[in-house]
Amino acid sequence: MINKGQLTLYIFLAPVLLWLLLLIVIPHIDLFIISLQIEDDMGDMVWSLDNYRAFFDEQIYWLTFVRTAIYAILTTILTFLITFPVAFYITKVMSFKYSGFFTILLLVPFWVSEMVRIYGWMILLRESGVFNHFLLQIGLIEVPIEMLYNDISMVMGLVYTSMLFMVVPLMSSLEGLDDSLIEAAYDLGASKLVIFSKIVIPYILPGITSGAIVVFMLTLGNYLTPNLMGGKNSLWFTEQIYNQFIASFNWNQGAAFGFLLLVLSTLIIWLGLKLTRQNLSKALA
């Protein structure tokens, strides 16, 4: 017999479990099966590992992946470097009166969809855009410069779209850091640099980890920003997957790439956690 408490639990859990099962587990199982099949000469589906082999055989595929992973790591690091001072200033330096207002200011841009935000950047950066117009007007340049469609503009766009996901966990960890810990370290003879490296950073490490994981995963799986701001030379691994599914209509190959992305990104995160001697449950607690 199921008692009343358990029944309530199951009722509340049901939507979550259904969601996981129907939208995550079943499609993934299906994708996994597809990824292990290829079409033979007769047009029949047969089991094979060729889809996975293609990833390692064709340089372009795995080089794209390596490129994507390196840029995702770079984006994560840059996002941390940019958002940490902001989070620290809002939570620790600014008076309590204004910190709420500034937190909202940070959130406001994210009420607009990513697409609109990226187009915003394009309006600013393109050849006939605001920056070029301004630079031409003041006579600093004579012909407009193309600022879009390169790796720098792409990373900038990725950092911009990721900032919120880093700043929120950083701020919540920093809020948990009692000011008197900083004062105690100062009182015991620590310089400002030592306070940051020995007290603040170790204390908020779980926040950094969870922010970094989210930013890394979102960046790795981002399609829009690399596509719009990166241009033709900035291949992103998600574009490879998209190409297989939509352009080549090779679902089997696309599914294999999707699985490889999942496995390899999980591997990178596991490696990152090992290197910083963190564990996942602590970071997400």
Binding site: D178, S180, A184, Y186, D187, L188, G189, S191, Y203
Partner: protein, 356 residues
């Protein structure tokens, strides 16, 4: 006489509010000095100025004869025990204590030796490897003190460190802290709102009110010879009444129309002046001998407030609405006293003290 800490005419304002108002005092080398006051009296501000977290608007602070104005906290020869101790949760006990020593670039063998010997001294020799979260309240207390004392500061500042402990542990830590201070001989400056902490541990106590010192004295002196109504009221328990001076010699005051007591004027008071009359609960004698010279009056018992050796009697003074609290000695003589009884009581003239 040499002083570890000298404070001259210290002033600190927060916007239009004067938190510390012209405070001067000296602390003798090796003594236990307490600053006692209600919350919001400016004692924390004063302490933070000594530690270096706040700069005074006026006045001077000298530690062992040298002015420390403008010296940041990490370079001052003082250490502070924070109210909530502020041990670093991501480090173990050893690392916490070694933190300050490492900042001084000591050799690791030396650090190890010093940490071990200070842990021994505070009675936690086996605790070096423990995490902070594994310690009890009293152990955290001792680690916090060890972390500061290992740096051999000229002065150790303590900001109500016992406030978070439960009563039993607090009583125990009071005695331990006093012993430790005598043992190491470091000058302690202790701030608290708990008078019993200040009275039990200190050599000298400064009573602070509204940013200024009311009186600096030994604990006994504060209790026996308060110099202001605030001190009389704040230190120990006291019955306080509004009164008017009836005659100057002998000094008599009248209160609640009917009652005239002979007493002691602590301020300049002339006939007709308003004043405050204080009577300590333990100075009230129940059923006094008939030939003794004292202010006698009748009371009706309202309640016996039993608290072991601290048992009190709450009574109303006959024919008035005034309440008086008296001590009720637990020596069997007054076991029969209960609510509703009428008693004759008396107070010695010397124990009736009056302030403006």
């Amino acid at each position: 006489m040499s002083f570890d800490l000298e404070v001259d005419n210290l002033v600190r304002d927060f916007a239009s509010f004067r938190a510390v108002d012209d405070v001067s005092f000296q602390v003798e080398k090796g003594s236990f000095f307490s600053i006692l006051g209600p919350s919001g009296c400016g004692k924390t501000t004063l302490l933070r100025m000594i530690a270096g977290f706040l700069e005074p608007d006026d006045g001077d602070i000298r530690i062992r004869g040298e002015s420390v104005l403008g010296v940041p906290p990490n370079l001052r020869p003082v250490n502070l025990i924070f109210q909530h101790l502020s041990l670093f949760p991501m480090m173990d006990v050893n690392e916490n204590i070694a933190f300050g020593l490492k900042r001084r670039k000591l050799q690791s063998a030396q650090i190890k030796h010093k940490v071990a010997s200070i842990l021994e001294r505070v009675g936690l020799p086996e605790y070096g490897e423990k995490k902070i979260s594994q310690l009890s309240g009293g152990q955290k207390q001792r680690v916090a003190i060890a972390r500061a004392l290992v740096l051999e500061p000229s002065i150790l500042l303590l900001d109500e460190p016992l406030g978070a402990l439960d009563l039993k542990l607090r009583e125990q830590m009071k005695i331990e802290l006093k012993k430790l201070q005598q043992d190491v001989g470091t000058t302690f400056v202790y701030i608290t709102h708990d008078q019993s902490e200040a009275l039990v541990m200190s050599d000298q106590v400064a009573v602070m009110n509204r940013g200024a010192f009311e009186q600096v004295d030994t604990p006994k002196g504060l209790y026996a010879h308060p110099k202001s109504g605030f001190v009389a009221d704040f230190i120990g328990e006291n019955n306080a009444y509004a009164a008017r001076v009836e005659s100057a010699d002998p000094f008599r005051v009248r209160f609640d129309q009917e009652l005239v007591f002979e007493g002691r004027a602590m301020h300049d008071l002339t006939v007709g002046d308003q004043c405050q009359l204080f009577i300590r609960p333990e100075s009230v004698v129940i059923n006094p001998a008939p030939d003794e010279q004292l202010n006698r009056f009748q009371v009706q018992v309202k309640n016996v407030l039993f608290d072991g050796a601290n048992t009190k009697l709450l009574a109303t003074i006959a024919d008035t609405g005034l309440e008086i609290m008296t001590a009720l000695p637990q020596d069997k003589r007054f076991d029969h006293v209960s609510a509703g009884d009428k008693l004759e009581v008396g107070v010695f003239q010397d124990s009736c003290i009056c302030f403006r």
